[in-house]
C-alpha cells in the first residue's frame, strides 16, 4: 500500500526529532501484538538520541517483526530472511557516520540467521540489534520456532514441540557480543532504557525483547507479566559505592555473572546481562588498518598508488 500523503513540510535540519517525523506506514501487525509497544519505545529512543534523521538506518530481515522499517521514517529497508546482520555490517563499516539499527524475530535471528549472529557479534561491528522474540513463527502462521518451549503445540508439532529450545541469553553472551540485554514488550520504560543503553554502546549491542504473539502464542510470557500474576525481575547493576548491598548487585563486565543470569529458570531476569566497554570495534580495527597503511604510502593519491603498483608488474 502506498504511504499516506503527508502535507506537512519536513523538519528543518537540526530540529529535534519528534514521533510525528518518525512515523511512517501504519503497522500491519495484528491488534494486540507486542511489537506495537517495541515500535513506540523505539520512537522514544530516537527522540532521546536526537540523531540527525537522515543518519539513522533501520533495517530488518524477514518475519512479522521484520516489517519494522516500513513503520519508521528513516532510511532503511527490508532484506532477505536471516541475513539482515551481514547486510547491516556492510552499512556500519561502509559509513561510520550512520546509526544502524536492525530488527528481527527469533526465527530470523536464532534459526536461519544463527551463524551470522555469532560472527557479527564476535567481530563487534558497531550496530544495535533488537530481537523481538515471540517463540513462534507468526508470519507463516504458527510453526515451532527455535525458542518455542518443549510441549508447545504448533502446526509442525501438533503433539507439542519435542526439540530443546535455544537459550537466547546464553547464546548471545557466548557469541562474543559486547552488549547483551533482555527486556519485555509490556515494560515500555524498561525497553526505552535498555535500548538507549544499547544504542550508546560502542560496539555490537543486542537486546532480546519478549514480545507476545496474541494470535499464535497467547500468554507465552505471562509468567513475567505482573498483571497476569507473573514476576518481572529486573537486574540491579553494581554502582561501585562499596556498600554491602552493592556486593549483591550484578557486575555486567563479568562473563561468569552473565552466564549465571542466563542459566536462571524461566522466565529469568531482565536488564543488562553483559557489557564489555573495552572491546575494540571492527569499525575501529579497520580504520586503524587503513590509517597505518595510508601512513606507509604517505597518503599518496589513488592514481599514484595504482601507477606505482603497475610499475612493479612490468
Amino acid at each position: 500500500m502506498s504511504a499516506p500523503a503527508v502535507a506537512t513540510p519536513p523538519p528543518a535540519p537540526g530540529a529535534p526529532l519528534t514521533k510525528k517525523a518518525l512515523t511512517a506506514d501504519h503497522p500491519t501487525w495484528c491488534p494486540g501484538c507486542g511489537d506495537f509497544a517495541v515500535l513506540a519505545a523505539f520512537y522514544k529512543v530516537l527522540e532521546k538520541l536526537n540523531y540527525p534523521q537522515e543518519k539513522i538506518v533501520t533495517f530488518a530481515g524477514i518475519g512479522c517483526s521484520s516489517r519494522f522499517p516500513y513503520f519508521v521514517n528513516t532510511h532503511g529497508g527490508h532484506f532477505i530472511h536471516g541475513r539482515a546482520l551481514p547486510f547491516a555490517a556492510g552499512i556500519s563499516l561502509g559509513r561510520d557516520d550512520l546509526h544502524v539499527f536492525v530488527f528481527g524475530g527469533d526465527g530470523d535471528g536464532f534459526s536461519i540467521g544463527g551463524n551470522h549472529l555469532v560472527h557479527t557479534a564476535r567481530k563487534n561491528f558497531k550496530l544495535t540489534y533488537v530481537i523481538m522474540d515471540n517463540s513462534v513463527y507468526g508470519l507463516t502462521k504458527k510453526q515451532t520456532s527455535p525458542t518455542s518451549p518443549v510441549g508447545f503445540k504448533s502446526k509442525t508439532d501438533p503433539w507439542g514441540a519435542i526439540d530443546q529450545p535455544i537459550n537466547p541469553m546464553r547464546t548471545l553472551v557466548n557469541s562474543g557480543a559486547t552488549f547483551v540485554a533482555r527486556s519485555h514488550a509490556t515494560q515500555v520504560n524498561h525497553m526505552i532504557d535498555t535500548m538507549l543503553q544499547a544504542a550508546k554502546h560502542d560496539g555490537f549491542s543486542v537486546v532480546e525483547i519478549l514480545s507476545e504473539c496474541v494470535e499464535f502464542y497467547e500468554g507465552a510470557f505471562d509468567s513475567s507479566v505482573p498483571r497476569k500474576g507473573g514476576t518481572f525481575k529486573t537486574i540491579d547493576l553494581k554502582k561501585g559505592d562499596g556498600s554491602p548491598e552493592d556486593a549483591q548487585r550484578h557486575d555486567p563486565s563479568s562473563l561468569e555473572a552473565a552466564f549465571k543470569l542466563a542459566n536462571e529458570a524461566w522466565p529469568g531476569s531482565f536488564g543488562v546481562f553483559y557489557q564489555n566497554k573495552n572491546a575494540v570495534t571492527k569499525n575501529q580495527l579497520e580504520a586503524n588498518l587503513i590509517a597505518k597503511t595510508r601512513e606507509k604510502t604517505k597518503n599518496a593519491p589513488d592514481l599514484a598508488l595504482l601507477q606505482a603498483t603497475f610499475a612493479r608488474l612490468r
Binding site: K55, R83, I290, L313
Partner: protein, 624 residues
Amino acid sequence: MVSPNSPEQSGGARPGQQPRSLSDVVIRLAGNSQDGIQSIGGFLARLAGRSDQDVMTYMTIPSTISGGPSIFQVRMGNGDILSAGDRADMLVAFYQHSYDAHIGSLRPGGILIYDSDHVAPPAGDNRFTSVAVPITTGTVEAVGGTSKDKGKNIFVLGLLARIFDLDVAKLTGLVKERFGGKNEDIVRNAMLAFDAGYAWPQNNIRDLFYRFDAVHAAAETTGRPQITIDGNTAMAYGLLAAGVRHGAGYPITPWSSIMEILRTELPKYGGVFVQCEDEIASISTAIGFSYTGQLAITGSSGPGLSLKMEALGWATMAEMPLIVINVQRGGPSTGMPTNVEQSDLMQAIYGSHGDTPRVVLAPKNVEDCFYIALEAARIARTYSTPVIILTDQGLSSRIEVFAEPDLAKVMVAPKLDLSERPATFKPYPLDAITQHAPPGARIGSGKYPTVTGLEHDEHGHPTGSPVLHQKMTAKRREKYKALAATLPAPELFGDESGEALIVTWGGCYGPAREALGRIRKAGFKAGHLHLRHIHPLPLGLEKTFAKYHRVVVAELNDEGMYGYGQLTMMLRAAYANPAIVSVTKTDGLTFKVSEIVAGVARHIESQALSATVGAASQSTLATR
C-alpha cells in the same frame, strides 16, 4: 625478442655457431608442484613482457594441499599470441611420471629435455630430439650445502636461457628481484643454480641454439610498457581503477586470489574488504556497502555463486548496484576445482528465483579482465543493477603480457553523493531508471525511502497490487533493454559472410581467433564473433548470424540433453536460427585450436577442412 648484441650477454658465448631463427615457441615444464615449475614459467613470461614479446601461459596445479604433478606451459614469441599452443615444441620432464603423462603433448620433431637422474625414456625412440641432463645432481653440485635439490627450477631456467639465447642480464635481474626480499643466501644459491644450468651445454644440447626473430616495429604498438600478470590480478586492479573501494568474500578456489589482493590493497585506498563467515554473508555485506552509496564487489566460484542466489534476487528487486565475480571451474558441486569450464552461464543469467534480470559480462583474455571490471562498475552504477562477471579458472591463473593501461585516462574516482534529494524524489520511479538516495542524504519531502525485496510502489512501500507488480517487473526489465541499445557491436574478425561464423565468449577468444586463421588459410570464408556483453546481448546479432551458412558456438560446457551448449541454447532461443550449433567439451582444459577447427569442419561437413587438422605442422624446433 630484443637480443642485445653485446658479446657477454648473447651469442658471443657460442663462437662460430649461428642460432636458428624462431618466431614463437611452446615450452611445457612438467614436474611436481613443489619444484617451483610455476616460477620458471613466471620468469620466462615476465622476461618476454620486458622484451616486448607476447606471451601466454597455461598451468595446472593439483588441488591436493601439497605436492602432486604440476605443469606450466609457456608460449612466447612475436606477434599476437592467442593461445597457449596445442602441442609443445619442447618438453622438460623432471620425473618419470612427468615424462609418461606429457610425452604425448610433444610434437614430432620436438625437443625432450629430461632429468636423467629420474627419467629413463625408452631406448630407440627417434620421434624427438632427446637431451639427457642430470638436473638434480647438477643443481646439488652447483648449490651445495643443505639445500638439496632446491633450485632445480632455476637450473632449468639457465639451461633455457642458453638454448634460446635469452637476455641473461634481464633474466637474472628478474630472479634477483624475486628473491631480493629474502636473505642473501637464497639469491646467491639461485644465481649459482642459474649459472650451472647456463654453463651446462654438454653432449647434444650444444646443438640447440635458437634466437627469436627481432620484434617488428609493429604499427599497433602502444608505446606503453608491457606488464605481465594473471587474470585474477588484472581483475583486482581493474576494480581498484574502477573506483571500487568496498568488498566482501569467502575463500574458494580459484576466486580467492582476487579477495586476497583486494584485502591487501584496499586499505591503501582507504577502502575495506571483509572476509565473511560464508558466501551468503559476503554478498549481504557487499550489498550493504552498496546501499550506503558505495559500489561494492563480492565474488566466488560456481558453488559459491549458487549460495549467493537469494541475495542476488534481492539486489535485482531492490535495484542495488553490485559487482559479483564468478571464477568458473569444473562443476557441478566441488567438481574439478582447479580446471576450467564455462558451465555457469545459465546460472549467471537465470539463477535465483522469479524474474531476475541482471547483467552478465565475460572477459576475453587476461588484459580484458582489467577492462571488464571497469565496464562492470560503469554499468552497475548507471543502471543501479547487479553485474556478474564470468571469468574462469584458465584466465584466473594464466599469465599474459599486455600494454599497461593508461591509468590517468581510465581511472574512476569513487564518489559518494549525499546531496539533499528534492521533494519529488522516489527510489523506484516508473518512468526512470532507479538511482538510490543513500543514507545520510536528506530527502526534501521529509519521507525517507525504504529499499526492499517485497514488491513495492514507487516509494518502496510494499504492495500486493497485481497492476503494480506487472509495471514494476516491466520497469526492472526495460532498463536492461535500454542498456542493450547502447552496447557497441561485438568484435568481428575475418570474412563478413561465408561458410561459418565462430562465436565465442570468455577465454575461448584466443584459440578461436587462431582457429579462424587456419580455416581461412585452408581456403574457407569464415568469421569469428566474440561476445563480452552476454546478457543483455548487443542488438543486431541476428543480422550478422544470417550471413553465414553455420554459426558455430565454441564453449567449454556440456552439449546437454538437447545437443547445444549453454550460450548456444540462449542464442537459438533468442534468434530462432537453426544454423546456430555448438562445439563443446568438458575435459577441464582450454580449447585447442585444432579442436575448434575440427568442430567447424564437422558442422560445415568439410572433409577438406577436417584433413588440415591432422596435418599438424612439424615442430618449429625440429632439428631436421
